[in-house]
């Protein structure tokens, strides 16, 4: 059976060049990067080379890069550390309702500390309004966090404009760029951000490694305490192999981006058109054009997402959904609900994220195999029956 991996938004396979570089570190460079002897020095050198690669990929200075254990950790250090360090200036923070939980839950924890948070809404396509953001600003606003692009529906946010306004008003601006690095151009100077979070495993690098860009001169209160590693913001002996892996991964991701993103965009469009064209009562979630090149999010009405994932899995297709059963809670995806989708439509959402391995044949396979799966699930759906009989869907 054909196996089609369309869940690159969840994670990606580690690329060959990354594995080779990491293997070399594991087998040859075991020294502690903090040791000044001949065992430690090569490890330090590798870390600093990787730091240069990460910095170069996003238009930053190497001194502005802090390696973390994940994108989540980078988000937390920036948001919680940034808010705590500036609380004398004010207690107001702004973010959006569609952030990844790494960001949302960090803000929720700050609310318990006495900070006030404004959560910006989104339109039907998942986009934040700059006007609503401006109206939310207060004299005591100290930090703003808006994701670069949404992980579920791929909506690209107007971070440059928001960043510019923040910079003018001397408000810290953080952006979660975990989904955009290697997909669309990411430049910290153009975004005007003070912090930017990225992750290794979304760009064919290893899991367990992320990085935080922190603009020169910006201060945060450390969340962890220990040694002096990573400017005391991420103390603990560095994961040298993972850091090297991230460096190699991001270098390749950025170099291949123009060609690869154009290729994926074409495949994505064909996938979207193919599914929408062959199955009735389907809709695209998120914008048609201003979205991540590898993201297709489609709702297939009157069937449930987990059942769809399981059925597709049995035919070799790996996808994800925003249904309640897959979001780990009793409610469907907070992103889809914020976009104004009904419970029915959100439960039937299907996220397909393309990547390196995706071919034209994969897209054909999905278009061909999806319809009979949907027909089968709809045949046993009492909601589909209601729809066909013109009864209200409750």
């Amino acid at each position: 059976m054909r196996r089609v991996y369309l869940d690159h938004g969840a994670t990606t396979p580690v690329r060959k060049e990354v594995i080779e570089a990491m293997m070399q570190v594991h087998s040859e460079v075991f020294g502690n990067p903090s040791s000044i002897h001949s065992f430690g020095r090569p490890a330090r050198k590798l870390i600093e080379e990787a730091r240069e690669k990460v910095a170069q990929a996003i238009g930053a200075d190497p001194k502005e890069i802090i390696f973390t254990g994940s994108g989540t950790e980078a988000d937390n250090i920036a948001i919680i550390g940034g808010a705590r360090a500036n609380q004398k200036k004010g207690k107001h923070l702004i973010t959006t309702v569609v952030e990844h939980h790494a960001v949302l839950d960090a803000f929720k924890s700050l609310e318990k500390e006495g900070f006030e948070v404004t959560y910006l809404s989104v339109d039907g396509e998942g986009a934040v309004s700059v006007e609503e953001f401006q109206n939310a600003l207060r004299d005591d606003t100290i930090l703003v966090s808006v994701m670069h692009a949404n992980n579920e529906v791929g909506t690209i946010q107007p971070v440059e404009e928001i960043g510019k306004i923040c910079r003018e008003r001397k408000i810290l601006f953080h952006t979660d760029a975990v989904q955009t690095v290697g997909k669309v151009p990411v430049n910290v100077k153009e975004i005007n951000c003070d912090f930017l979070a990225l992750s290794g495993h979304k760009i064919y690098g290893p899991k367990g490694i992320g990085a935080l860009y922190m603009r020169r001169g910006v201060r945060v209160q450390p969340l962890y305490h220990g040694g002096g590693q990573e400017r005391k913001l991420r103390p603990g002996t560095e994961n040298v192999a993972n850091i090297v892996g991230l460096g190699v991964a991001i270098e390749h991701a950025v170099a291949e981006m123009p060609a690869e993103s154009a290729r994926l965009e074409k495949l994505r469009d064909r996938l979207i058109e193919g599914v929408l064209g062959s199955i009735e009562e389907t809709r695209l979630n998120g914008p048609r054009t201003k979205r991540l090149p590898h993201n297709a999010n489609i709702s297939i009405e009157y069937i449930e997402g987990e059942a769809l994932i399981l059925s597709m899995d049995m035919k070799g297709m790996a996808v994800s959904s925003g249904s309640a059963c897959t979001s780990g809670s009793l409610d469907p995806s907070h992103v889809l609900m914020a976009m104004g989708l009904t419970h029915t439509t959100a439960h039937g959402s299907l996220r397909m994220t393309l990547g390196h391995s995706t071919t034209d044949e994969d897209v054909d396979y999905v278009i061909t195999e999806l319809k009979p799966i949907v027909d089968k699930l709809r045949a046993m759906s009492p909601v589909w029956e209601r729809f066909q009989k013109g009864l209200p869907i409750h």
């Binding site: 449930e304 997402g305 987990e306 059942a307 399981l310 419970h343 046993m380 009492p382 589909w384 029956e385």
Partner: protein, 140 residues
Amino acid sequence: MYTDKVLDHFTNPRNVGEIEDASGVGEVGNMKCGDIMKMYLKINDETNVIEDVTFKTFGCGAAIATSSMSTEMIKGKSIDEALNLTNRAIADALDGLPPVKMHCSVLAEEALKAALLDYQKKSGKNLGLNEDDFEDWDEE
């Protein structure tokens, strides 16, 4: 995450469909949580035997599997036997469900009892089912 039996009943669900002249029909669940089950019973008024049973379900793998399994467990059984079917027994028959999916087995039990309640109303027989009990269930 799911047992082989759950996957089997999900992939090849038994007794899917509707019964046109059903003796009792029950529908439970709501769109918010994302599970709706509808069960149809054909009951022999003389013998009180459930001669046919079908279902339609909107829901996850566990919701479809528990619906399917519950129809298999009551087909050909008496009303009394069906009334004694518990959600635990349905889950056990599937070799267990993940803890977060146990509510699906509750829903299957509710769907069956809702269909029997409908039959109670239509037939005028007293099966000991009380409408008020269902309102409580809905909130689970």
